[in-house]
Amino acid sequence: MERKPIYLDYSATTPIDPRVAEKMIPYITEHFGNPASRSHSFGWTAEKAVEEAREEVAKLVNADPREIVWTSGATESNNLAIKGASHFYSTKGKHVLTIATEHKAVIDAVRELEREGFTATYLEPEPNGLVDLEKFKKAIRPDTVLASVMLVNNEIGVIQDIEALGNICREEKVIFHVDAAQATGKVDIDLEKLPVDLMSFSAHKTYGPKGIGALYVRRKPRIRIEAQMHGGGHERGMRSGTLATHQIVGMGEAFRIARLEMKLENERIRKLRDKLLQGLQSIEEVYVNGDLTHRIPHNLNISFNYVEGESLIMAVKDIAVSSGSACTSASLEPSYVLRALGRSDELAHSSIRFSIGRFTTEADVDFTIQLLKDKIQKLRELSPLWEMFKDGIDISKVEWAAH
């Protein structure tokens, strides 16, 4: 049997923690009741489990359980927050502000609002991936109804200053939505203190199951959203649909474990990341994408100059990582996030996102460093660009015949 690659793609998804899986199983089999059934114990048992999970999710981010609305995941939460609030408050104005490096679930929800007649600003971050507070403030208009900024970026792992951005939104009376899909269990979130109105969560980035997420909807001051899903009036009318008890139980348990263990876990992961970074930086011509200080320890995004992205991914098939380049189509598309940081197409293409998690070992990191050293050397021996660089030729000044 072929050996499985080493998994270093925790930002794409995480395995379900065995403790989470164990807790979920009874709610698939014996406790199968519909949490909305009020007339018998099957329903009561399911409802109790759902409410306990809601408390756990709220506890991780210091919110009131009544502020947590279950959804199918962060994509739905982002859509519900952005479209739901913009629709509800559209009499105030029809302009939405977001950042060019947001997840597609935010960008595309805002694009949909544009199709409906809203206008939008996609603010470019600084070259380190962080949002400039002054530029953010200037981008707010009198008709701005909502701003959406992610807490942790999925590609480069940088942490935005949500508190400062939220305060600007408060001053300008703009509703503030934060996509925190990549943040739970990695950075402290205190919604009693943070000036945030809406926040999206996902279970499967935090060792919970796929297909379940939540949206935080602030009660004081109360934020109203227009439902995107209509039906039985579940979740106080904000999101209809029978609750997936076992998924919800899984998310609750995953967030409970995150709350209890994140401090120790993050210290361990930071050591592994630092080791990986040090090892990879011993290779010539590598560039870290995104700020290294304001960043979760789980993420390392590095460009390897003079090596082409797709051949790089082929070369490192013994590890499971993400590439900054989508080579599935005939036209190569470099990562829009890296492009927004001002990276050249070549550097964007030759980037790898390493994301470390709960089950990564030091041996995994050692293997990865050695693999990259060997393969980068091999590909550079093949690369005419590397040869030119070594001969002192400035490749950006060469006139290439585009094809």
Binding site: V307, M314, L332, P384, E387, I395
Partner: protein, 127 residues
Amino acid sequence: MAYSDKVLDHYENPRNVGSLDKNDPHVGTGMVGAPACGDVMKLQIKVSDDGVIEDAKFKTYGCGSAIASSSLVTEWLKGKTLDQASEIKNSAIAEELALPPVKIHCSVLAEDAIKSAIADLKSKQGK
């Protein structure tokens, strides 16, 4: 994306990687593609006085299919006359390597590299 065994073989064990002396009057150098497009191929041929390709070397910045296409043509070029070499078509390369439609441009680039190397040689020799 699934690669054919032949592409994987050339990618894992590329043939004739390296460089020839570009100032040698018997060496023609072709450099085609652009870094921004994701492929750059450098192909060099060394031709005897009676017009037969004695040696061919390549370096390629590009995907597995681009590396395989250029590696393959270095094998094909050796022993051919310049006229025979200029008849190598991209379709033959694509067929040999079983390239999927999105990778046809790699074989086109390899054909262009051959033409460019021959043109360089001819201009050097004043033909």
